[in-house]
Amino acid sequence: MDQRNQMHRHIANTRKSLFDQGYLDEQFIQLEELQDNSNPNFVEEVVTLFYRDSARFLSNLDQALEKRPLDFNKLDSLMHQFKSSSTSIGAKKVKTECTHFRNYCNARNAEGCKRTFQNVKKEYTTLRKKLEAYFQMSRQVGPIETACRSR
């Protein structure tokens, strides 16, 4: 019991810190709201889908950034889609870096693009780890608790 409670608290704290540290934003809350009995693992499903699907964007971007000269329009277009996806799950920091990237694209700044892209990847990976840990904890505790967790 106590352990369980502790677990809950731990999960709650983890979650809170994700928000506080700016990794997640309100959109993530929307996802949580959509999770209910008929859709018990909605949040995790969406996040998993995101990471699976967005991998191709990242590799496309990597390839595009290797080309010389850089095709900024294409880069922008790819990043636009990636950003759109990230926004859907509430990946705040990732989204911010994407915006920077697009700004550099518009400014035709190759260096800036490459640099921010590295940041994008970093944030993306960090968030993934955190979310994976978070979901794992939640699963351990049980879905009901997860849904009941207060915001």
Binding site: Q27, Q30, L31, E33, L34, D36, S38, N39, F42, E45, V46, L49, F50, D53, S54, H80, Q81, K83, S84, S85, T87, S88, I89, G90
Partner: protein, 597 residues
């Protein structure tokens, strides 16, 4: 009966088919089709929509979505689509859905750029949402469904009233029941004249029926029926009987007839303006036309009511209209040909005209003899006659191809090139035009006043007698052309010379008004005997036909019809008085040609 009583009866009636609960529960259960290539966004959208208790279908491919919708448009109440998709532009999907199925479409995009929002709206989106979409926004989208139903209902209502129908939104075919019973019920409550109407189709009258989509075939049957009955006698009930299409109600026919009449009227008016018409190519039209997806376009146009005449002008020349316009402009010039056609010509024109109606700027083969192409075409739009005409060119619907190309103008040659080339082009292009002719006819009208009169009539009415060669040949060409096109279009306007003319006119080129247009005009003019010597009508690039431009410029999808009666009257008059000068009155009001487009 008080409103409550009516509602009660309506509700009771509806109960037979639907549960009252459904009505009350709307928008719960509203069927939404969600399209987004991004799986994350799609899943999110799915979740949101399910949370609103809608019934959701998702797809990440626009083509799949379109296919699903085409298979059964009544399967969905609303479409939500992303703008940026790899296989098809969201805006294009939007247009197609709106036109073909007349379903409300909501655009979704990560980009909130006002220009894109504007683009969405101009393409017909009901709403434009920016990602990430919030639940509250989606909770309200059902209003678009209701709004559209109310609008279409009142539109059909007014149509019905005109037709003296007692049905109000009787657009539903018997089978069109799936379109949201809930919606239907709701709509029923809004209209309280069902009971009073004593409609024999009770089911349909009290329920909101899905809109009928006037496919090419259906329209062709309709035109055939109208022609057979004669424009004056073409009443919805009889047309319906003649058409013998299951599930079609009299109200459907009535409202379609109304539109058709307006269309004819417009054509006749345009004829007068033909001179003035400088071939307006509206790029937008082209764009629109371009987006048409084949046969669906016409229907869409007709059905969706989106294409207002006003819109037509904006069509680019690539559209049928565009072509017509161009052609018109051109023809006008060319019409000044010396041979003003004799009245007889006009008659011949009718033949081709009819075919032209199909929107193909028929370019009757020059070698066709002057025999009246249209000879089959009775002024009274006697379809039967036309068909009999063994002249293929006479707008025979079924026989378009047979038209004797050879027939077409042998003599005059004025159209020689016109006919053949344009015809061919037209034909190949397609059967899309529904009603192009109108503009054409108008064009001629302006140009060759004397001839025009005749020709015009013939267009509209049946250019049956094209005695003079130049005209004949022309008309023949036209008719032949039309015939060629005819596969599809003839049926519709066989007797309606307008369309053929119209069709003929535009094909000239979508954009190139210059040469080709005149050619097409020639065709039409040919009837008029314009002998413009455009021998090279060939130029008609009938883009129209590409199957995409349904909306034949001539035919203004929605209110294109101008009274067929006028047309008929005009024709009759002419026949009686061949020498009548065409003062641009075929019995129509002088419409500016240009306006058609």
């Amino acid at each position: 009966m008080t409103v409550e009583e009516i509602r009660g009866s309506v509700g009771a009636h509806n109960n037979i088919n639907n549960n009252n609960n459904e009505i009350d529960r709307f928008p719960i259960g509203m069927r939404v089709l969600a399209v987004d290539d991004d799986p994350t966004c799609l899943k999110l959208l799915d979740g949101l929509l399910r949370k609103c208790q809608y019934q959701v279908t998702t797809t990440n491919q626009a083509r799949t979505a379109l296919k699903m919708l085409r298979e059964n448009r009544n399967r969905f109440d609303l479409v939500i689509s992303d703008v940026h998709m790899p296989d098809m532009d969201g805006f294009k999907l939007l247009e197609l859905v709106g036109l073909e199925m007349d379903l409300p479409v909501i655009m979704l995009s990560g980009n909130s750029d006002p220009k894109l929002v504007m683009k969405g709206i101009t393409h017909g989106a009901c709403d434009y949402l920016v990602k990430p979409v919030r639940l509250e926004e989606l909770r309200n989208v059902w209003q678009h469904v209701i709004r559209r139903k109310v609008e279409s209902k009142s539109q059909s209502k007014s149509n019905n009233n005109q037709e003296n129908r007692n049905h109000e939104g009787g657009q539903e075919t018997g089978s069109g029941d799936q379109n949201g019973k809930v919606n239907r019920k709701r709509k029923d409550e809004d209209f309280d004249d069902y009971e009073d109407n004593g409609n024999e189709d009770d089911d349909s009258s009290t329920q909101k029926k899905p809109r009928v989509v006037w496919s090419i075939d259906l329209h062709r049957k309709f035109v055939a029926a109208v022609n057979q009955l004669g424009i004056e006698k073409a009443v919805p009930k009889r047309i319906l009987d003649l058409m013998n299409v299951e599930g079609l109600t009299r109200e459907n026919v009535a409202s379609h007839l109304q539109k058709y009449r307006l269309y004819l009227k417009r054509i006749s008016q345009q004829q007068n303006m033909v001179v003035a018409f400088g071939g307006c190519n509206d790029a937008s039209y082209n764009m629109r036309m371009g987006s048409f997806d084949g046969p669906g376009d016409f229907r869409a146009i007709m059905g969706s009511g989106r294409i207002s005449t006003a819109q037509l002008p904006s069509y680019s020349s690539s559209g049928m209209l565009g072509r017509l316009n161009s052609a018109t402009g051109m023809t006008l010039h060319s019409l000044t040909s010396p041979n003003l056609i004799q009245p007889t010509h006009t008659q011949n024109l009718t033949g081709p005209v009819n075919s032209l109606n199909k929107f193909h700027p028929v370019g009757l083969p020059p070698n066709h003899q002057p025999t009246s192409l249209l000879h089959g075409i009775p002024t009274s739009f006697d379809l039967g006659q036309l068909q009999q005409n063994n002249k293929p060119n006479n707008a025979h619907i079924p026989d378009f191809n047979p038209i004797d190309q050879s027939r077409v103008f042998n003599g005059s040659n004025t159209f020689s090139t016109l006919g053949s080339d344009s015809c061919l082009n037209l034909v190949s292009s397609s059967s899309t035009f529904l009603d192009v002719p109108p503009p054409m006819s108008e064009m001629f009208h302006g140009q060759m006043p004397p001839m025009m009169a005749d020709t015009m009539t013939s267009f509209g009415s049946n250019i049956t007698s094209m005695p003079s060669i130049p005209l004949d040949s022309q008309s023949q060409t036209q008719s032949q052309r039309v015939a060629q096109y005819g596969k599809q279009s003839y049926g519709q306007y066989t007797s309606n010379g307008f369309s053929t003319l119209a069709a003929a006119a535009p094909p000239a080129n979508s954009g190139g008004l210059g040469g080709p247009v005149s050619q097409s005009n020639d065709l039409i003019c040919g009837a008029y005997n314009k002998s413009n010597g455009n021998g090279t009508v060939a130029n008609t690039k009938l883009k129209m036909g590409s199957g995409e431009n349904y909306l034949p410029s001539g035919f203004v999808a929605n209110n294109g019809y101008d009274s067929l009666d006028d047309l008929m009257n005009g024709m009759m008059k002419r026949e009686q008085d061949p020498t009548l000068t065409i003062d641009g009155e075929f019995g129509f009001d002088p419409y500016s040609f240009g306006s058609c487009i």
